[in-house]
């Protein structure tokens, strides 16, 4: 249990990378990139967790109750929303690639140079 979340993070990273490398469709590659990004959220929140502690919101619990680390939650929170916008940009590139080259297979797109 001490190491299990980090092992899961490494597994998700490896599986996502495998999907990116062996993909035959640009949109499938982009979804695998989303999976790779999600592994970093798991790592961030796993690092900040404290056993038996509450969420860091002191609206109805006294201020000195043990709470988990709020800094990594702040990082993961903005991460999730911003990477959705970056994924939208990648999808726009995929649309234009299909218009210009007619194919969405990354292993065929490699041959177009310049």
């Amino acid at each position: 249990m001490q190491f299990f979340p980090f092992a899961v993070m490494a597994w998700i990273l490896a599986v996502g990378l495998y999907g990116i490398v062996t993909s035959r469709h640009l949109v499938h590659q982009i979804v695998c990139l989303i999976v790779v990004q999600s592994s970093t959220y798991v790592l961030l929140l796993g690092v900040g967790y404290r056993r038996g502690a509450a969420a860091p919101y002191f609206y109805d619990i006294p201020v000195h109750t043990p709470a988990v680390d709020p800094v990594v939650q702040a990082l993961a929170l903005t991460d999730v929303v911003v990477e959705a916008a970056v994924t939208a940009l990648l999808l726009a590139f995929a649309i234009q690639a299909q218009k210009r080259f007619g194919t969405l297979d990354p292993q065929e797109l490699v041959q177009f140079k310049g």
């Binding site: 680390d69 800094v71 903005t78």
Partner: protein, 253 residues
């Protein structure tokens, strides 16, 4: 390189990378044993210093507000990038956005979907507004509220047609709202500079009770700006993609 060879090269490289990654991860303090002082210090002083009971939002918009300015501008740039990349190429024309029910080849939207979407538009906007304005009290904030608000606009598209969606959120107004959001955040920081304080210093009055809606100074204001900017960015992205799907056609050569 053939795909099979590529797969073997990847597996060899990934094995080495995975070995180093797992070795590094075992050096972390075990799961559940967070030792570091930074989080504990912030948990202890945040409510007293900023009158905000939502410590995560206080970190996002006050203690590490400079990082959030950067992230917000990444979002802004990505939305502009989508609008730029999907500009019309040579040889495309945009079909006029008129009601072409006769020559549309998609199945008509079912009445159940339209009714449910129409009923949900109001509550979704209310929830999004609530989330964007309560950053300092509970788990909410500008980012989540903005995304929920953008979802409300998409529900309008589902309930009505694309023409209604375009009329409610024309590109010029969405652009302007997004710019107001992004610029407003930066302007709050610059106003602190103009008053002789550090950039993004919390200069507004902190309010009476911790966790009240009108407390915590610039945190609530910044969260509002971030909310409208995120909503505008996502509405812009979705409307660009919808336009591509429904209106832009390739000229017959």
């Amino acid at each position: 390189m053939t795909p099979a060879a590529r797969r073997w090269v990847f597996l060899a490289g990934a094995a080495g990378f995975a070995a180093f990654l797992l070795w590094g991860l075992t050096g972390l303090p075990g799961f559940g044993g967070y030792p570091g002082p930074y989080g504990d210090i912030i948990n202890r002083v945040a409510v007293a210093q900023t009158n905000a009971t939502g410590v995560v939002s206080a970190i996002n918009f006050e203690y590490r507000g400079f990082d959030t300015v950067g992230e917000e501008f990444i979002l802004f740039t990505a939305a502009i990038g989508v609008a730029t990349v999907l500009r019309h190429l040579r040889g495309e024309r945009e079909r006029a956005a008129r009601d072409g029910a006769m020559d549309r080849d998609a199945p008509p939207v079912s009445e159940a979907v339209r009714l449910v979407s129409l009923v949900l538009v109001g509550p979704v906007f209310l929830v999004g507004w609530y989330l964007a304005s309560h950053a300092q009290t509970s788990p909410s904030g500008g980012f989540q509220g903005g995304v929920v608000l953008a979802t409300g606009f998409v529900l309008i598209y589902l309930a009505g047609e694309f023409l209604v969606f375009k009329r409610i959120s024309p590109v010029d107004i969405t652009d302007a709202v997004g710019a107001v959001g992004a610029g407003g955040f930066a302007a709050v920081g610059v106003t602190a500079l103009a008053m002789g304080l550090p950039y993004l210093f919390n200069f507004l009055p902190l309010g009476s009770a911790p966790g009240a809606v009108s407390s915590s100074g610039t945190i609530a204001l910044i969260s509002f700006f971030v909310g409208i900017e995120v909503a505008a960015a996502f509405v812009l992205i979705v409307s660009e993609l919808l336009e591509q799907t429904l209106l832009v056609r390739q000229e017959r050569p």
